[in-house]
C-alpha cells in the first residue's frame, strides 16, 4: 500500500520534470541540461520570497514560477538560439548555465539545506499508511497541471501550432507559424512545470545548490524510455520509473534505486531506441 502511494507521488514529480523536458526537445530539438536549474530556482525562489520578503506562500509560489519562466525564456533567446545549429553546443551551454546557477545559489545561500515551507502541514492516513499532506498535494497538483497542459495542446490553436512545429519545423514555418515565438512559449511552459515541481517537492525533498543534478538525470532517463518528444510517453515512463524505484527501495534497499532508472534507459536504448511512444528513431 505504501508503495502505491509513495510511488504515485514520486512518479508525479518525475512526470512534471519529464514532460517539460520532452516538450522543449520535441518542439525545438533542444536537450536542455539546465532544466534541473528551473527546478532548483523554483524552490529557492519560493524560499526567498517567503522567508526574506515575507510574502504569503501562494503568492510567493506564483511569483517564483513566473520568474523562472521568464528566466527560461531569456536563456533560450540569448544563449540557446544562436547555437542551435550544433546540438552539442546547445548541450554544453545549457550545462554551463546550470553550473552558473548552482554556483550563484551556493554563493548567495551557502551549502546548507534551506527550508521551503509546505502548503499543507498535516499528516494524512490513507489506507493505513501515514503520508505527509504535502506529498498528496503534490500528486494532485501534478495531475491538474499535466492534464491542463495536455488539453491546451490538443484543444487550442496555439497548442496545434506547437504540435505542428514538433512534427515538421520547416513546414510549420511555411504555414506562417511564428516558430521563434512558439519556442519561447514552450520554454516558458517547460520551465514553469519544473519550477512547480521544485516548489511542491521542496518542502519534503532536499533544497541545496546542487539539487538540479538528480532531476535532470531522472528526466533524461524517463524521456528516453518514453520516447523523446512524446508527452504521453513521458507520463507513462515517469510512472513506470517512479514505481520501479519505489518498489526497489521498499523491497530491497535504496542503494539500488538509482540503477533502476539508468538500467531501464540503457536497456530501452539497446532494444527499442525510439522509446515506448517515440515516433522516429533517428533525427
Amino acid at each position: 500500500m505504501e508503495i502505491l502511494i509513495y510511488g504515485a507521488v514520486t512518479s508525479a514529480i518525475y512526470a512534471m520534470l519529464a514532460v517539460g523536458f520532452t516538450l522543449i526537445f520535441g518542439v525545438a530539438r533542444v536537450l536542455n541540461l539546465a532544466h534541473g536549474s528551473f527546478y532548483a530556482l523554483g524552490a529557492y525562489g519560493t524560499y526567498v520570497l517567503t522567508s526574506v520578503v515575507g510574502l504569503p506562500l501562494w503568492l510567493a509560489a506564483l511569483l517564483a514560477i513566473a520568474g523562472v519562466a521568464l528566466f527560461g525564456v531569456v536563456v533560450e533567446k540569448v544563449l540557446i538560439r544562436p547555437l542551435r545549429s550544433s546540438q552539442l553546443g546547445v548541450l554544453m551551454i545549457t550545462l554551463a548555465v546550470s553550473l552558473v546557477v548552482e554556483q550563484t545559489l551556493f554563493l548567495v545561500f551557502g551549502s546548507e539545506y534551506r527550508n521551503v515551507p509546505a502548503f499543507v502541514e498535516t499528516k494524512v492516513s490513507l489506507g493505513g499508511v501515514d503520508v505527509a499532506g504535502q506529498r498528496l498535494l503534490t500528486l494532485a497538483v501534478a495531475g491538474v497541471a499535466i492534464g491542463a497542459l495536455y488539453l491546451f495542446i490538443q484543444k487550442t490553436r496555439l497548442g496545434s501550432a506547437i504540435l505542428a512545429i514538433s512534427q515538421d519545423a520547416e513546414a510549420a514555418k511555411y504555414m506562417g507559424i511564428p516558430s521563434d515565438r512558439i519556442f519561447s512559449l514552450v520554454m516558458a511552459i517547460s520551465a514553469s512545470l519544473a519550477a512547480l515541481a521544485g516548489i511542491l517537492a521542496g518542502p519534503f525533498l532536499s533544497v541545496q545548490p546542487s539539487m538540479h543534478l538528480l532531476p535532470i538525470v531522472k528526466a533524461f532517463a524517463i524521456v528516453v524510455v518514453g520516447g523523446l518528444g512524446s508527452i504521453p510517453g513521458s507520463i507513462l515512463a515517469a510512472f513506470m520509473l517512479g514505481y520501479a524505484e519505489t518498489f526497489v527501495g521498499y523491497q530491497f534497499s535504496t542503494s539500488w534505486t538509482e540503477i533502476v532508472s539508468v538500467l531501464a534507459t540503457l536497456l530501452m536504448l539497446i532494444f527499442r531506441p525510439a522509446g515506448i511512444f517515440g515516433k522516429r528513431s533517428a533525427f
Binding site: Y6, E112, Y113, N115, D130, S206, T246, Y250, T254
Partner: protein, 409 residues
C-alpha cells in the same frame, strides 16, 4: 626551425638564472612566519568553523608574541568531499604554499586518499574531522613513513560506536525501557567501520536489533526507509549520519509522524541553527556532540563565548579540535625548542593538553584517546524552541527526555 631552437635554448638559460637571483633576495628577507595549511571543506559548516577556530587560536598566540619569536599564519585549500580535489589541495599546500604543518580534514575517504601524499612530503598532519580508524592504522602499520599523522579529533569510529553502546545500554534501555532498536546510517567509510562494532556491542547489552540499514549518501527520499523502520517494530531509531541529508531526514520523519523517536550521531544536527532552519522539525532528536556550553574544562565556556563573537553560529566539532590542535602544536614546538619535524613529533606524542572537550592525549598510534576527563560523546536533545538539553552522561544532565509531539498522550 634551427633559429627557433636556438632562441628557445637561449631563453631557457636566461630563465634558469632567475630563480637563483630570487633566492638570493629571499635569503636576505626577515624571519619567516610559520604557515599552517588548512585542508578542509570550505563550503560546509565544518570547514568554516575549522577556519574560524584556527584564526582564533592563531590570533591569541600571535598576541602573546608568536611561537619561538615567529608569527603564525594560516592558509586554506578546499578539499571538498572528493578525493581528487583533496589530493590536489594537499599538493597545493605542501608544494606551492610550503606550509609547516597541516591542520584540517573532514571526510575520511578524502583523508585516506591524501595520506600517501602527506607522508611523502614529511609534513605533520593534525586531523580534526575524520573518524575512520584506518587513518591511524597506517601509523601502526608503517610508523616510519606515516609518523607525521595524528588525529586530534573526533574520537575514532570504534570509540564512537562504544559510546553509542553505552548510551543505548544505560539510557535507551536503562531509562527509557526501549529494547527494540533500529540502526540506520549513511553508507560512508566511517559508518561502515562503526556499525559492526555498534551492533555487536548493542546485542551484548541486551538490545533487540530489528533492522540495520545503510542508505546512500545521496538519498533524498527516506519514506521507504522510515516505513521499514516503523514496520520493523523498533521502539527507537539509532542514526549514524554525517554527509547525508540530515535536514531532509528530520523533516520527512516529522511530517510522516513516524512513531519512533530517534537519536545517535548526526553531524549536521550539531549545528546550532539546525533546529531553526528546518522549522523545528528535529524536535526530540538526540544528537551526539563533543561539547556544549558547559564547564567540561576551564576552556570550554570561554571558547564558546569567543567563538560566538567571531561567527554567527555555535561551533561544530571540528572547531574544538582545530583550536586545540594549534595550541598543542605550539606547545610541542616550545618543548622541543625547535621546529625540526622529528623532534616536534616526539613532543606531540607526549601531549597532555587541557583542551575544550577534555584532556587531549594520544595513544601509541597517534589516535586521540577517550575516557573519563578526555574527549567523549555527550548526548544532547533538541527540545522546545530550539533549546538543547544534555541527557547523557548523567553527571552532565541538564534536562529530561521529551517525546516527539505526536507521541505524547
Amino acid at each position: 626551425m634551427k633559429r627557433l631552437c636556438l632562441a628557445l635554448t637561449n631563453w631557457s638559460h636566461a630563465l634558469l638564472a632567475l630563480p637563483l637571483v630570487l633566492a638570493a633576495f629571499a635569503a636576505g628577507a626577515q624571519e619567516k612566519p610559520i604557515k599552517i595549511g588548512v585542508p578542509t571543506a570550505v563550503q560546509l559548516q565544518v570547514g568554516r568553523d575549522t577556519l574560524t577556530a584556527i584564526k582564533m587560536a592563531v590570533d591569541e598566540i600571535n598576541k602573546k608574541g608568536g611561537l619561538l619569536g615567529r608569527k603564525l599564519e594560516y592558509v586554506t585549500a578546499d578539499e571538498t568531499e572528493n578525493p581528487e580535489t583533496g589530493i590536489s589541495a594537499i599538493k597545493k599546500l605542501v608544494s606551492d604554499e610550503k606550509v609547516d604543518v597541516l591542520i584540517g580534514g573532514y571526510t575520511s575517504g578524502v583523508t585516506l586518499a591524501q595520506l600517501p601524499h602527506i607522508a611523502s612530503s614529511k609534513t605533520i598532519y593534525l586531523g580534526v574531522g575524520a573518524a575512520s580508524p584506518s587513518i591511524t592504522a597506517k601509523v601502526k602499520n608503517d610508523y616510519d613513513n606515516y609518523k607525521y599523522i595524528f588525529r586530534v579529533g573526533p574520537i575514532n569510529a570504534a570509540h564512537q560506536a562504544r559510546a553509542l553502546v553505552d548510551y543505548i545500554s544505560h539510557f535507551v534501555i536503562g531509562e527509557l525501557g526501549y529494547k527494540k532498536i533500529a540502526i540506520v546510517g549513511e553508507n560512508a567509510k566511517w559508518v561502515q567501520d562503526l556499525v559492526p562494532v555498534l551492533s555487536k556491542g548493542a546485542k551484548e547489552v541486551g538490545a533487540d536489533i530489528r533492522l540495520t540499514e545503510l542508505f546512500d549518501t545521496q538519498t533524498s527520499d527516506f519514506s521507504p526507509l522510515l516505513a521499514k523502520v516503523k514496520s520493523s517494530g523498533a521502539q527507537y531509531m539509532i542514526v549514524v549520519l554525517s554527509h547525508g541529508s540530515s535536514d531532509v531526514f528530520a523533516k520527512q520523519w516529522h511530517d510522516a509522524q513516524v512513531p519512533v523517536p530517534y537519536g545517535g550521531i548526526d553531524v549536521k544536527s550539531m549545528d546550532g541553527d539546525f533546529f531553526n532552519r528546518i522549522g523545528g522539525k528535529s524536535i526530540s532528536e538526540v544528537a551526539a556532540n563533543f561539547a556544549v556550553r558547559a564547564p567540561l574544562t576551564k576552556k570550554t565556556i570561554p571558547f564558546f563565548d569567543s567563538f560566538k563573537k567571531a561567527s554567527p553560529n555555535y561551533p561544530v566539532y571540528t572547531a574544538f579540535f582545530a583550536y586545540d590542535a594549534v595550541f598543542l602544536y605550539a606547545d610541542a614546538v616550545k618543548r622541543a625548542g625547535s621546529f625540526d619535524t622529528e623532534k616536534v613529533i616526539k613532543e606531540i606524542e607526549k601531549t597532555r593538553l587541557e583542551g575544550i572537550v577534555g584532556e587531549i592525549s594520544f595513544d601509541e598510534f597517534h589516535d586521540v584517546q577517550t575516557g573519563p576527563g578526555k574527549a567523549n560523546l555527550i548526548f544532547v536533545q533538541w527540545q522546545e524552541k530550539g533549546e538543547r538539553a544534555v541527557l547523557y552522561p548523567k553527571e552532565l544532565r541538564t534536562g529530561n527526555f521529551i517525546l516527539p509531539p505526536w507521541m505524547r498522550k
